[in-house]
């Protein structure tokens, strides 16, 4: 199969969706500019016209609300927020309106909108250009939240999100944009809510989100060399998340490490850890360990960034810690 980068896979999904369905359109800041979107939207405006690929003013609140209104009335919009941080200006339309609409009106009206938000961390850009806010949105009933970690999933999850019929937050991470992987040519869906086992193993379940899934693969290589047999799960959807698959994996290994490059308190990792502890406590041989960002806004200085962001090494230590702290074998 041919290989594409993560960013190219996203672009291909957009292009094919725009071609397939006249109800699909794209609106947001920087959709015709490589600064924000990388190659992930390259030249779509040229191919499909500026009326369907709308590069908007700096008006997050209005553009998101507009997309929601269009969705309610029969379109299939994708709203683009080039930094997740900017999307916070659109909290009312997302949380109060889109998330509630179907429930409020007993399903008589729905909001088939995709809200795409890019996590952009590092590069000495600081606290307001780096936030990974999946937990905030996963908290809200009525929203679905997906976080692809591979080019294959980047394409398939976008297709599934557009066809889902509900408001779906599609969160992609710039640190993954150059990642290469196999991507089928045609349109296909990766089901929302289904995690995937990237490597099966016996000793410990390592569950990761988005960019951390890619770091986790590196960690698994290092751990394998040390004779540790890791089962790696890429969760892919954080709302809803794949409880069955996670529970059965932890049921087998008895140990769980969760890696999510967002703040630790009240995060996605906390939610999964609480569920596992609450539902299958008897299966656990060791305390669950979370590998997350410390509870601080992102610093700018390169030295502090180095200390702040976590990767494969932190995952390796966490796995080792879980093995050491096991009470039962």
């Amino acid at each position: 199969m041919r290989t594409l980068s993560y960013a190219q896979a996203i672009r291909e999904a957009h292009a094919q969706l725009l071609a397939e369905d006249p109800r699909v359109f794209l609106i947001g800041q920087g959709v015709r500019n490589p600064w924000y979107a990388g190659t992930s939207l390259q030249d779509l405006d040229k191919e499909f016209g500026a009326h369907r690929v709308i590069d908007s003013p700096v008006s997050e609140n209005a553009t998101t609300g507009t997309a929601i209104g269009a969705a309610i009335t029969g379109m299939r919009p994708i709203v683009f927020h080039p930094r997740m941080d900017f999307m916070l200006l659109a909290m009312d339309p997302i949380m109060n309106q889109a998330a509630n609409w179907s429930y409020l009106f007993a399903g008589r009206v729905s909001v088939p909108v995709v809200i795409r938000a890019v996590i952009n961390r590092g590069g000495e850009q600081g606290a307001q250009h780096s936030q990974a806010l999946q937990a905030l949105f996963a908290h809200v009933p009525g929203l679905k939240v997906v976080m692809p970690a591979t080019p294959y999933d980047a394409k398939g999850l976008l297709v599934a999100a557009v066809r889902d019929g509900n408001p779906v937050l599609y969160i992609d991470d710039r640190w993954l944009y150059d990642l290469q992987g196999e991507v089928p040519e045609g349109l296909y869906e990766v089901p929302i809510g289904a995690a995937v086992i990237r490597r099966s193993g016996r000793d410990v379940t390592l569950l990761a989100t988005s960019y951390m899934a890619s770091e986790a693969s590196k960690a698994v290589e290092m751990l394998t060399q040390r004779g540790i047999d890791v089962e790696l799960i890429d969760v892919r959807s954080v709302k809803p998340w794949d409880r069955n698959l996670v529970y059965s994996s932890v049921g087998k290994t008895g140990r769980l490490v969760i890696a999510d490059a967002a703040w630790i308190s009240g995060g996605t990792a906390a939610e999964i850890a609480a569920s596992v502890a609450g539902e299958i406590f008897h299966a656990l041989k060791a305390p669950i360990v979370r590998v997350c960002l410390p509870d601080a806004p992102a610093p700018t200085s390169a030295v502090l960034e180095q200390a702040y962001y976590i990767g494969a090494e932190a995952i390796v230590s966490a796995v080792e810690k879980v093995l050491v702290s096991s009470t039962r074998s």
């Binding site: 600064w35 609140n61 000495e124 850009q125 410390p294 502090l304």
Partner: protein, 333 residues
């Protein structure tokens, strides 16, 4: 209302000299920052305001130290014009512990409370309502402080611009809204974003005076700001100044972005002929400013900038142990 109808005193030679000095200082500092970015010695994103110096300088010259200014991602000029510490700014851009935010902020987060700079942040338009809050706080505390919100034309696309104008007008708050209309918001021109080139009309809609000012004429900015500040201090409420200008460099970094979005070569040439610094020099030349005096001023400025850059270079990076400091303050903030 047209503020320019009312009486203003012409500027003295000394006043013009200090305006020239302040503008040239911002220019040289930013050119240097641009070089440091080009050589990758500086990695944090730096948004340069070269070409726009007359606006912060014209406005801040009429402010007192205890007046506050609020800016965004392109705020080196606001910071320096208001009296922010140059060395601390350079060190911040270098991510050093001697920076104004101890290296946690970079170019987009400048702060110097002693000079009335309580923080600039990159989220577009974010500080406009904060300036309104500073105006409200001045009123409630019974002081005659004035708050100035600096923002770009792009920020007027955001809802909080409109909400803030209304609040400030409604409560007659001592706020100066200064829109630096440089015709661009990242890669998009004003035409891509508005049906009409009419930002100033927002003022009339919300019931406050609005004035269009030649943002490349420092005396025009100064005089408009003077009247608006006088009004604010007298309890007569806010003013919107739409200062027409142009940014010579691109959205971020030293490049000119000639090919991004639109082709702006011709436009840039036209605007460079309207250099605010050359304009001010022209006024002074007519009063007999010699080129030796200008060169001396330039040399002094370069020396100060060189010194600030070496200070920044030599300063230590923050220690990793600082990572979790300042997430909260201790006791009374």
């Amino acid at each position: 209302m047209n503020l320019q109808d009312t009486h203003v005193t012409p500027l003295s030679h000394d006043q013009l000299m200090s305006l020239l000095w302040a503008m040239q200082r911002i220019r040289v500092a930013e050119e240097r920052i641009g070089e440091l970015v080009a050589t990758r010695e500086v990695r944090t994103p730096c948004h340069l305001s070269i070409g726009q110096e007359a606006i912060p300088v014209g406005v801040c010259t009429v402010l007192r130290q205890d007046d506050t200014v609020w800016g965004g991602h392109r705020s080196h000029g606001h910071y320096l014009a208001k009296g922010g510490d140059l060395r601390a700014m350079m060190a911040e851009i270098f991510g050093k512990v001697t920076g104004c935010a101890r290296g946690r902020g970079g170019s987009m987060h400048l702060v110097d409370p002693a000079q009335g700079i309580f923080g600039t942040v990159p989220l577009v338009g974010a500080t406009i309502p904060l300036a309104v809050g500073a105006g409200l706080s001045a009123t409630l505390r019974g002081t005659d402080h004035v708050a100035v919100a600096f923002f770009g034309d792009g920020a007027t696309d955001e809802g909080h611009f409109h909400e803030s104008l209304n609040l400030a007008a409604l409560y007659r708050l001592p706020v100066l809204f200064v829109c630096e209309n440089n015709l661009y918001s990242t890669h998009l021109t004003l035409k891509d974003r508005r049906v009409k080139d009419n930002i100033v009309e927002s003022a009339a809609l919300h019931g406050l005076p609005g004035v269009v000012v030649d943002g490349n004429d420092v005396t025009a900015v100064y005089q408009a700001a003077q009247q608006a500040v006088d009004r604010a201090r007298a309890g007569e409420g806010p003013t919107l100044l739409e200062c027409r200008t142009y940014r010579w460099r691109g959205h971020v970094g030293p490049a000119a972005d000639l090919e991004v979005g639109t082709d702006r070569r011709r436009e840039l040439d036209d605007w460079q002929r309207r250099d605010p610094i050359a304009h001010c020099r022209g006024l002074l030349n007519a009063q007999g400013l010699s080129s030796e005096v200008f060169e001396r001023l330039e040399t002094e400025i370069r020396r100060e900038i060189d010194e600030a850059v070496s200070f920044a270079r030599q300063s230590p990076a923050p220690d990793e142990s600082e990572l979790l400091q300042y997430v909260y303050v201790r006791g009374e903030g």
